[in-house]
């Protein structure tokens, strides 16, 4: 279903399996890859037996309180040490271990959207606080999230707004609020930035907490985005969110993250924007619409896996776990270390993930995970894993991997290459070679 050939309203119609496009393990794998980091064969088999709408509903579950509490224990230890370098290890661990995959994926999306780097903030407590804020609102409503992020100490530290005085309003947050967070370029003027900056005067961070200082707040009249009044920061956020361009801006970002790396036209984004408008910016409801749509089910292979999707997906799909400190180091080399986005624009994603150097690095990351003695596999080892799923030959192993990982079917040439290992005894060494060769394929890079 090409987005350019079909009426936009048709694109977002709920997907119904049919003869032309039946609901299959491979389609379920696509859903789990995009709405999370991938699924095991067991999960795919279970999903195949359900209606796609039921599967989608199941991924909107809330986080298990026991799991959340255990993660908080890990975070508390990181806080005690006081090193922000530990934070990526904890989040990567969480991504692999959590059962609420969509929640983590959406939190990662918002982390890239409201990009804040621990490199500059350099405070474990503040970064953890922002991470919780994003997770709490990840599949909730956008409005409250923008209000909360506007007062978030980590964000305000990152954008140099710890002190915002009426005599010298800091324009950083006002600019990013419109350019990167809510409206996008071209939907505001420099005057709007200056005026909105005045509404945030008196918003301060003291002892790592947000504080409103009425003595430093500009009480004068402010005029921006067609409205005038003695607005404060919260009112400014409301006015920004009321702009028509805001829903379309968020709709496009959601589509780009969850559906396709290709540019999204206004026409394609409009139904989603309208849905956001009608539902008070409800991200959860909007994601249900997106993930359950014909367009989404038709977008298989339209994205390039980010380093996190690649590494975490590899571990999750193969029911493995490993050394998250080493994995963090690899993520840093590949340019997607959680808590450390490159700048306020976040990770550009898409084709920027792949170049000749990073492609080699991505393959090496898989090689590291395969060879690392600390990588532990369900059912003891790789051999035990494939045996558990009745894959007793090279071709069966390739089929097993294809189901788990590939958005597009293997090309005949790739298949031939992989089958060149046939005839060897299927021990762990050979299996490692097969998995490594499989993950080095161009097809493996697509999500």
């Amino acid at each position: 279903m090409g987005a350019d050939r079909v009426k936009p309203s048709e694109l977002w119609k709920p997907f119904e399996p049919g003869r032309e496009q039946p609901w299959s393990r491979r389609l379920a794998a696509h859903l789990f890859r995009r709405a999370g980091f991938g699924a095991t064969l067991e999960e795919l088999v279970a999903a195949e037996k359900m209606h796609p709408a039921e599967v989608i509903e199941s991924i909107f579950q809330s986080e298990n309180p026991d799991f959340a509490s255990r993660m908080q224990t890990l975070e508390r230890q990181a806080k005690a040490v006081g090193s922000v370098e530990r934070l990526p290890n904890i989040w990567l661990y969480r991504m692999v271990k959590t059962s609420t995959q969509l929640l983590e994926k959406a939190t990662l999306f918002w982390h890239g959207h409201f990009a804040t780097s621990a490199q500059k903030v350099d405070d474990v407590g503040l970064m953890i606080g922002q991470n919780h804020l994003l997770r709490q609102n990840a599949i909730g409503k956008f409005g409250p999230m923008v209000h909360a992020i506007s007062r978030d100490p980590a964000m305000l530290t990152y954008l140099d707004s710890r002190e915002n005085r009426k005599t010298r309003p800091n324009e950083n947050y006002a600019r990013e609020l419109m350019e990167l967070f809510c409206l996008g370029l071209g939907n505001y003027s420099e005057t709007d930035i200056k005026q909105i900056a005045r509404t945030f005067t008196g918003w301060e961070i003291k002892k790592n907490r947000f504080r409103f200082n009425p003595y430093q707040h500009d009480q004068g009249l402010k005029s921006f985005l067609g409205e005038s009044g003695n607005f404060d920061g919260d009112q400014a956020v409301e006015i920004v969110l009321k702009q028509k361009s805001s829903t379309k801006f968020i709709a496009k970002k959601l589509i780009n993250f969850f559906v396709t790396d290709l540019p999204v036209s206004d026409a394609v984004a409009q139904p989603i924007a309208d849905h956001l408008s009608r539902n008070d910016f409800d991200i959860g409801k909007t994601l249900r619409l997106i993930l359950g749509s014909c367009y989404f089910m038709d977008s298989v292979g339209n994205k390039i896996k980010s380093p996190i999707e690649l590494g975490i997906g590899f571990l999750r799909c193969l029911e493995a776990t490993g050394n998250f400190v080493s994995l963090s180091n690899r993520m840093r080399e590949l340019g997607q270390l959680p808590f450390f986005p490159p700048n306020v624009k976040g990770w550009p994603g898409g084709r920027t993930w792949i170049n000749s150097a990073s492609l080699l690095g991505r393959v090496n990351m898989i090689g590291d995970l395969l060879r690392d003695e600390k990588t532990k596999w369900a059912h003891n080892d790789l051999r035990g894993l494939v045996t558990h799923y009745n894959a007793g030959s090279i071709s069966e192993v390739v089929e097993f991997l294809e189901t788990l990982f590939l958005a597009k079917p293997l090309t005949p040439a790739s298949r031939k290459n992989l089958h060149s290992l046939s005839g060897k005894k299927l021990n762990n060494e050979v299996l490692t070679q097969v998995v490594y060769a499989f993950c080095a394929l161009p097809e493996f890079q697509l999500g």
């Binding site: 290890n89 002892k207 532990k376």
Partner: protein, 605 residues
Amino acid sequence: MSKIMLNRNLMVCLLFSAFTIVGVSPVVPAQGFEDVPSVQASPVQETPARHPSEVFPVSTLVYAELMPPGKLIQTILNHPIRGKVESLPQVKQAMRSKGFVGFLAGLGVVQVFAGMDWEESLQVLAGKGIAFGFSPEQNAFGAVLLSADKKRLLPLCKGLLRFANQADSNTVQSGKHRDIEAYSIAKQFFIVPLEDRVFVSNTKKFAMQMVDFWLDDDQASLQLQSQFQKAVATRGDDAIWTYVDLKSIRDGGIANGLFPEKMENIGLEAIAGGVLEALKKSDFLTGALTIGESGLKLSLVTPFQNKAISESRKYFFGSAAERQNFQLLQLPGLLANIHSFRDLGQLWISKEDLFDENHLSEISQADSTLSTLFSGLDFGEEILGSTKPGFQIMARNQDYSKILTPIPEIKIPEFAVVLQLKETGKIQRRFKIAYQSFIGFLNIQLAMQGAPQFELESEKLDGSQIVSATYLVDDDNEEGILNYNFSPSVAFAGNWFIISSTRVLATDLAKTGMTGAAVSLPEINTSFQLQGAQLAKILSDNQEQLIAQNMLEEGTDREDAKTQVGLILDVVALFKKASLMLKQEPGSLRLQLAIDVQGNDDDSQ
């Protein structure tokens, strides 16, 4: 394939040189042996036990004896720690590794060729001990394996050599030396079984030389060297005993780096400067290791004369009277306790003689900064010089019920430095002012970081004065931060001067100081002691941190991480005490390491 063969050769050589081997036909006569003049071996007579050192030349600079190894290995294999260590997942994983499984398989094959298991082989080959010598002059080492079963020695050697030959065809060659059968493995190891012993060397010449020394009485062997005899006279009933000829090493220009004229590091100088100078003036060093179920003890001993030590290093050893005056505070329940006789003022003043130019400039900078902190007083003469020689450093697990701040998430032991002042009065006030300045400086730094700041307090207690700084905690402060482990304090109790990381420890030490409960240990120059129970406690107190680390580094779930950390704590719990001491004994200097563990019985050998 060649790699596999090399591994097999190594295994055989390992058995030969450490636990031995030797062998036999079918082997190929080696050209190398035929050029050695054949001399009829003297008829072997039953003689009283001869010292194995008689087969080593005087050029042997390092000599070691291990005897008998069977009991030692049994002690290790049967020790309760072994079972605990083997239950660790990391060890289990290593034991499942390809390398280890391959080793076990190889060992199995060797045992088949030997006709007995490895422990029995060891008994037959070297049941009465092993002696080892190294001669840098000949670039050769030699070992003598003393069999406990002379009758079965040759058949065992033959079996093992057959294995070597089968693993790598023609790797074993044979020849004769003075009508005695000798063998080489891959021309890398030379082996001569003779009577109840086997001679092994990495060079043919050295191997034959050992045989000659054994057969002939008139050889100038290591055993006859007077210096070696002096060293042997000190030998006890140790599992492993070693002798190092320091004089020849120095004279030969070997290991010059060990004896620098001037030091590059003040820490190293304070820890080891005197010992290195003593070694520089000593002829030899002996080492002895005793291993039993209750632990191990390692002693390194060298002849020592205090008067031979240079003036600039008098600070290290002091005089008998000065050492007698070095008093130590005794506090129960310590995690670690270090005490050392060092005249720090003297060390600082002698810096020009002790350190190289680069390090001297760094010390001068530090001197200037420290003099500023101490209101312009000369740091060497007036500050360090105001203290008596010797200091103590103590570490203790904290009692968090006594601290005034929230309990930190990561628990760090409290520690203190204890010094004795030559006189009380004005200098105490100087130290107090320097401490207050330091806390003031810290407060500025903490304020800049938005961290809680220190509040200064001073209290008098039974004649002592304690000045402490405690974090001022309010509702805005974060809980559980590392900072709450500290309440830096100084205390003055009589002429005791205590610098502590916490108020509680400073107070306890001040109380102890006022009771006069101090001891003198003049024969111990330096001592470090670590208590196992307290170590287990601090690790247990930080269990959550260890579990978190395990989860992230091993990818485990919390339950698995908890189990793994628990196993590590179980192993640590078997450790009772470790101590490292430098003792000044009459005529000698002894460095002694002792590690005590929980064993079945205290059955040391």
